[in-house]
């Protein structure tokens, strides 16, 4: 798959500006079309189309809107789109959403300042951290030659498994999202030689062509888990807890348990489904070892990942997972989670991921097992900068979730769990709503976004003078935190 234009699927996408052309004044001279570098205008002598204002990136180089200046008839007006005041939230502000959509459309990084599409406005977490670029890299590196791949298996047992990018797709179950969404993600991640996790809702047959790039999730409800689904794949993920709702089980409300979801999970249509917390068979580290052994008894080649949230003793859990024989420890912080996760859990339980990552990294290192364990972080990874920050703090790679949804056109309305599900047909299993987009388009959008991220990642690493993403692990010296350091920022100049 290659990056290529994948336009928004709605007729009038949301843009930053509202650009109006007064038809009474317009002479259809075509000046605007020739002036605008973004292709907003389309005018022929017969017809002038409604300006495609969502394409307007902002004032031109002159600092003015050239179209307004240039129009001989004074027919064009530009004003800010008031919708931006309601779009998004502190974690995903409107600007970040719009730029993410643009990356998903074009496959390229936006022309704007990179902080615009790499920061949220949450006042904490990754949003208070900045990259500290050296004036001159220690070594001249060609961005095109930067290696983004990471190894997921660093232990003696199980098959080797390396992915082409330092991230893979987090678990989203069939039931929480539509099959079009699942296929879109699977295709995109397969094209990147990465992986995508099934989530806890079974292994739909539509994923079979992507077996090589699928992670089977074994979660506390054990929905849809069978020997077959464990044997199909190269990697199996235990979901002990989810950062968005640590200490709570999963819960799929009755409305989303449609006939097809019920069939996949072998349950009753219309009745809510529970995943308990915790695993009823695992109440200790030793039980956990037995649990890992079980998966290896079913699929001896599997790479086993252990996904946990970030309680204060998460470092112990990480070391325990190493001794249990897991390959990957996956820490899920609380910044992620869809609308279905209760706010009280998302906002109040467990440790922020930016504290948990260095803690676990250091603890594993002190134990002398850091090199044998792959350490993955997740929970609110929105951008290339977030990836860089998580890895510089000590992780080997990250897992994405919400960003993939954004690429598909999510508007962050937060109503994922209610009624028939997502109005945009992403987080739904409603037959009608799920028809809204074609997986080919979806895959292209997700691929495009990641393609833009990859080029940013390469640029950033080159600016640091690093030739591989693996060299970045634990380089906290390349970060600064606005609350703790008064030092000037590389970006500020």
């Amino acid at each position: 798959m290659k990056a290529k234009e994948a336009p928004e699927r709605f007729r009038n996408p949301i843009g930053r500006y509202i650009i109006l052309r007064d038809p009474d004044l317009c002479t259809r001279c075509g000046t605007c079309m020739r002036t605008c570098p973004a292709g907003v205008f389309s005018v022929t002598d017969k017809l002038a189309l409604r300006p495609r204002d969502w394409l307007c990136p902002g004032p031109c180089e002159s600092g003015q809107f050239a179209c307004v200046q240039a129009c001989p008839a004074g027919a064009i007006t530009v004003r800010a789109n008031p919708l931006l005041n309601t779009l998004g939230d502190f974690r995903w502000p409107a600007e970040l959403i719009l730029d993410t959509w643009e990356m998903a459309r074009s496959g390229r990084t936006p022309a704007a300042d990179e902080l615009r599409y790499n920061l949220g406005n949450s006042g904490g977490g990754f949003d208070r951290m900045r990259l500290r670029f050296p004036d001159k890299p220690a070594k001249k590196v060609d961005p095109a030659k930067v290696d983004l791949s990471i190894a997921l298996n660093r232990r003696q047992h199980g098959q080797p498994l390396t992915i082409g990018v330092p991230y893979y797709g987090g678990g989203m179950s069939f039931g929480s999202v539509s099959s079009s969404t699942m296929i879109s993600r699977a295709r995109a991640f397969a094209s990147l030689n990465s992986l995508v996790c099934t989530g806890e809702g079974g292994y739909p047959t539509v994923l079979y062509p992507y077996d090589h790039h699928v992670i089977t999730q074994v979660a506390t409800g054990l929905f849809g888990v069978s020997e077959e689904t464990i044997q199909r794949v190269r990697m199996v993920e235990f979901k002990y807890a989810q950062g968005a709702k640590p200490g709570l089980g999963g819960h799929l409300l009755g409305d989303k348990v449609t006939a097809s979801v019920a069939r996949m999970r072998e349950a009753v249509q219309g009745s809510a489904l529970f995943s308990p917390f915790p695993f009823h068979s695992v109440y200790s580290v030793e039980d956990h070892k037995k649990h890992v052994d079980w998966i290896l008894a079913i699929n001896p080649d599997a790479v086993v990942s252990v996904k946990v949230s970030t309680p204060t003793d998460v470092d112990m859990v990480a070391v325990g997972s190493y001794y249990a024989g897991a390959h990957v420890i996956h820490l899920d912080g609380s910044y992620g989670g869809t609308g279905a996760a209760p706010d009280i859990a998302k906002k109040n339980i467990a440790m922020p991921i930016e504290y948990a990552i260095p803690k676990v990294h250091g603890f594993l290192r002190d134990e002398g097992v850091r090199e044998k364990m792959t350490f993955i972080a997740s929970g609110g990874i929105r951008s290339a900068h977030d990836i860089i920050k998580a890895i510089a703090l000590g992780a080997d790679g990250v897992v994405t979730g919400t960003a993939d949804m954004m690429a598909l056109g999510c508007i962050r309305c937060g109503a994922c769990e209610s009624g028939r599900g997502c109005a945009r047909g992403i987080a739904t299993t409603d037959d009608e709503l799920a028809q809204q987009f074609d997986p080919e388009w979806g895959a292209q959008r997700i691929f495009n976004l990641f393609n833009a991220w990859n080029s940013q990642l390469r640029q950033i690493l080159a600016r640091f003078g690093l030739t591989s993403i693996t060299e970045l692990v634990g380089r906290t010296d390349l970060l600064t935190h606005l609350d703790y350091e008064s030092s000037e920022l590389a970006h500020d100049d």
């Binding site: 409800g221 009755g254 249509q269 109440y283 134990e367």
Partner: protein, 867 residues
């Protein structure tokens, strides 16, 4: 609170620094625990066998044992000194500090009657240890009179009885030593391992059996032993201070589990002037126990109640008088009650009552596995462990050395945590009197568990005479037909009650000869012995466990006599074991059954018997007999989808996760099974001729399952699809929580719960209630439970979301075929199930249905709005 308790607590004010870390030092988990109490002293090697099998319950980073009740000569002291002195054992992590510790603390505090280094082997590396175990110095002491007097005065403890004062003196002196030389130092120097009377504790960084080897305990005898394999998650451990057991005063405690409320428990203790020094929840557990038992002076029953409170329906079913007391205990001590998964084994010397005790207590929610067992014959032994195979391994080891022991216990059972029935705890008490100790087993409420006395005879120890059954002998002389095994079984059980062990020996010998005739004979002999192993039948005045030993040993010998796969033979049976595993090959023409001797296989991993079986199935083997199990896990896992046509018969102590993931095959367990059985079971048939452990069929999707006995906690949680299960006994609690198995009348799943057991003659007996737990079918949205409850003992309070319904003709027709198969498998006749007080009743008067109700909060809003 008594004045005594107030005095003691006040006297400890100085012990607290106020700087108590709120977090545990290391998480640890499941751990393997085992303990036994025996009326004859037995050597330390027997605590080995189970602990070796429990390696996968530890990680070699902490092993410990405690022993109680010694032979004074072996310790170089008189009986009087052994009984009256405190046996102070100090671990010197830095041996050079010993003189200083003695000068500063031990000599000023104590009169020393005897002292010596604990004997060790020369080099710890010889037995594979990485970290040198601490040098242990052993002192037999009494508090020095002047020190004791000063202590009483300083601490305001005047007026205490002599022994009570001495006990507290020892407790606080050890605390002082630990604080000074352990807790306050970055580099730990020394700590007190134990200080109780006639008991000691040892711990190392390693496995428990390495400890026995290092400290030369293999031939050292004691009445009571407990052992622990630790699984700390902190990797670099250089000394065993954090290993179990921990000491109270005269009791040692090992622990399997992990508190969720460590902070709350330490706060509770801090309010009573106790601070942890080793920062593990095991240490605070024994601090709690000592506080409740010695300081507050609670009887054991109340101590147990304070630790594991009785709740829900169980509380309501307690007698009024008990409720009144328990409510007060709970009100006072709930903050100190450990929450989360835990299981304690406590070894205790109770000198005031001249007895030793082994106590097992499980938490109210029964989140850790536990098994108790009792053998009462020529010798008496009570055992408790986290896994049944640990008990079997101990008994096997004892039986191999001493023929008074039998490799099979007379009784095995689980405790039901926080219950009104047994209280979730059992106590083995060795009462000492002039003729030596006698073992008594009681539950929390002091109700005894008794084994009827009967004749005992070990396998091979009776001289074969004759079968004394003409008809049986005649049939054994004929060539076998299809149902010969059943005919032989029916003939044999006509006589089993009257047979002497000599007759039984002759019968077993005859079967040995019989099987040698041909493969058909062998097949018949195996079927017959399997029936004799699985079924109950009258055995007269012989011990059932003894008869079973003869049957099982004969069966094992016949299986062991199978031609090896590496040898040239034309037999339909081929034997493979750990040593010959590399010789696995596809079945040749006529070869049908792969017999796997599982005994020496590792418990998991690519070299395990379970992996071998997967490989064999890939090569075309379909029929397996796997025997000699010693806890090996994952049997029947990994075979993948569509395995119909494969059948496995398993004998021995099979391990956890058996059949978890089964999709099509048939698996018969001829005995008790363990935990996590049949998880995510998709299809196929699972038959257990015994009990099953915790979280049985968690997340199962289907399958046909028959259990002769009971299920422990949390069976069928989160099961979906169409599992169809018959449980003839009962379950501890949480049966079918979040059951989502559709509409049973339209292809969904169900559980038939019979609530019965079979007596030794095979007659059906009703259990006091078909389901004792407080949570049945909670939050279930599909499926059903059909429960045999002719006396309507189940009440609405036990349901949390379900509702009772009548069993209709349609329901009965649905479950009837499963009851017929149940009859076929276990000999439990439908006729008998429908007979109540000797009267045959219609099914709807005997069975009740528990079905799902549509709860508004769970149901689809859309559908509701359309309704």
């Amino acid at each position: 609170m008594t004045d005594y308790a107030k005095q003691i607590i006040a006297s400890r004010r100085w012990l607290c620094s106020g700087q108590i870390p709120s977090a545990k030092q290391a998480e640890e988990g499941g751990c393997g625990v085992v303990g036994f109490a025996c009326n004859v002293p037995v050597s330390g090697r027997h605590i080995f066998a189970p602990s070796m099998q429990m390696h996968n319950r530890g990680n070699g980073k902490g092993g410990g044992i405690a022993a109680v009740g010694f032979d004074p000569d072996k310790l170089g002291v008189s009986r009087e000194v052994l009984d009256n002195d405190y046996l102070l054992q100090v671990a010197y992590l830095q041996p050079q500090v010993r003189r200083k510790v003695e000068r500063e603390i031990i000599k000023p505090s104590y009169t020393i009657d005897h002292q010596a280094w604990a004997a060790t082997i020369d080099d710890y590396r010889d037995i594979g240890l990485d970290a040198e175990p601490p040098a242990v110095y052993r002192y037999f002491v009494r508090p020095a009179p002047e020190a004791l007097e000063g202590f009483a005065k300083d601490r305001g403890l005047e007026g205490l009885s002599d022994r009570a004062l001495e006990d507290e003196f020892v407790y606080q002196t050890s605390y002082r030593l630990n604080k000074r030389y352990y807790a306050s130092l970055g580099d730990k120097a020394a700590f007190v391992l134990s200080h109780g009377r006639n008991m000691f504790i040892l711990k190392i960084v390693g496995y428990a059996e390495q400890l026995a080897q290092y400290y030369k305990l293999e031939d050292f005898r004691a009445h009571l032993w407990i052992a622990h394999q630790r699984y700390p998650t902190k990797g670099r451990v250089w000394h065993p201070g954090g290993a179990h057991p921990f000491i109270g005063l005269n009791e040692a405690l090992v622990h399997n589990g992990d508190f969720a409320n460590y902070r709350s428990v330490t706060d509770y203790l801090r309010q009573r002037n106790i601070e942890p020094l080793f920062l593990t929840d095991t240490e605070v557990s024994v601090q709690l126990f000592d506080l409740l038992a010695r300081v507050y002076g609670y009887p054991l029953e109340y101590v147990i109640e304070a630790l594991a409170p009785t709740t829900e329906l169980d509380f309501d079913l307690l007698p009024q008088a008990k409720q009144k007391i328990y409510r007060r205990i709970q009100a006072s001590h709930i903050a100190g009650s450990p929450d989360g998964p835990w299981f304690f084994i406590i070894a205790r010397n109770d000198p005031a009552n001249n007895q030793f005790q082994l106590i097992g207590i499980t938490d109210t929610a029964m989140l850790r596995p536990q098994v108790f067992a009792l053998q009462d014959g020529d010798v008496q032994i009570g055992l408790v462990a986290s896994e049944k195979q640990a008990i079997d391994a101990t008994l096997e080891s004892l039986a191999a050395e001493d023929e008074r022991f039998s490799p099979i216990a007379d009784r095995y059972w689980n405790a039901r945590g926080g219950s009104h029935t047994d209280g979730g705890a059992f106590i083995f008490t060795l009462k000492n009197d002039a003729s030596g100790p006698t073992l008594i087993c009681t539950d929390k409420f002091a109700r005894p568990i008794e084994i009827p006395s009967a004749q005992q005879c070990r396998f091979g120890k009776a001289k074969p005479t004759s079968i004394d059954h003409e008809h049986l002998e005649r049939l054994l002389a004929e060539p076998p037909g299809d149902d010969t095994a059943i005919q032989l079984f029916e003939l044999a059980v006509e006589r089993t009650a009257d047979w002497t062990f000599e007759n039984l020996a002759a019968f077993c010998q005859a079967l040995q000869g019989y099987r040698a005739n041909s493969d058909d004979h062998k097949q018949t002999a195996l079927e017959l012995l399997t029936l004799l192993n699985d079924r109950k039948y009258p055995v007269g005045n012989k011990k059932p466990a003894s008869v079973l030993e003869w049957i099982r040993q004969t069966l094992r010998n016949i299986l062991l006599a199978t031609p090896k796969i590496s040898d040239q033979s034309t037999s339909r049976f081929q034997l493979i074991d750990c040593r010959t595993a590399s010789g696995l090959r596809p079945p040749a023409d006529g070869e049908q059954v792969l017999v796997i001797d599982a005994h020496d296989f590792p418990p998991e991993g690519p070299q395990s018997d379970a992996s071998l079986l997967v490989g064999a199935a890939e090569l075309g083997w379909k029929r397996f007999i796997a025997f000699n199990y010693a806890g090996q896990r994952f049997l029947g896992c990994g075979l993948g989808p569509d395995t119909a046509g494969i059948r496995i018969d398993a004998y021995g102590s099979v391990g956890d996760y058996l059949g978890s993931g089964m999709d099509g095959l048939e698996l018969h367990v001829h005995g008790n099974a363990q935990d996590q059985l049949g998880q995510i079971l998709k299809s196929g048939k699972l038959v257990v001729h015994g009990d099953v452990g915790q979280t049985f069929m968690y997340g199962a999707k289907g399958g046909e399952v028959y259990v002769l006995g009971n299920a422990a906690g949390r069976p069928l949680i989160n099961a979906v699809g169409r599992p169809r299960v018959v449980i003839n006994g009962t379950c501890l609690d949480f049966l079918a929580e979040s059951f989502m198995a559709g509409d049973p009348l339209n292809g969904g799943g169900f559980v038939v719960l019979n609530g019965i057991c079979l007596d030794q003659s095979g007659n059906l007996e009703e259990l006091p209630t078909p389901y004792p737990g407080s949570n049945l079918f909670s939050m279930a949205s599909g499926g059903a439970i059909y429960v045999r409850d002719p006396h309507a003992r189940l009440v609405n309070e036990q349901l949390n979301g379900g509702e009772f319904a009548n069993v209709t003709e349609e329901d009965w027709n649905l479950i009837l075929p499963y009851l017929q198969e149940n009859e076929h498998l276990f000999g439990i006749r439908i006729e008998d199930l429908l007979t109540v007080y000797g009267v045959r009743r219609p099914f709807e008067q005997v069975y009740r249905k528990v079905k799902a109700v549509r709860l508004a909060v769970l149901a689809s809003m859309i559908q509701d709005s359309e309704d």
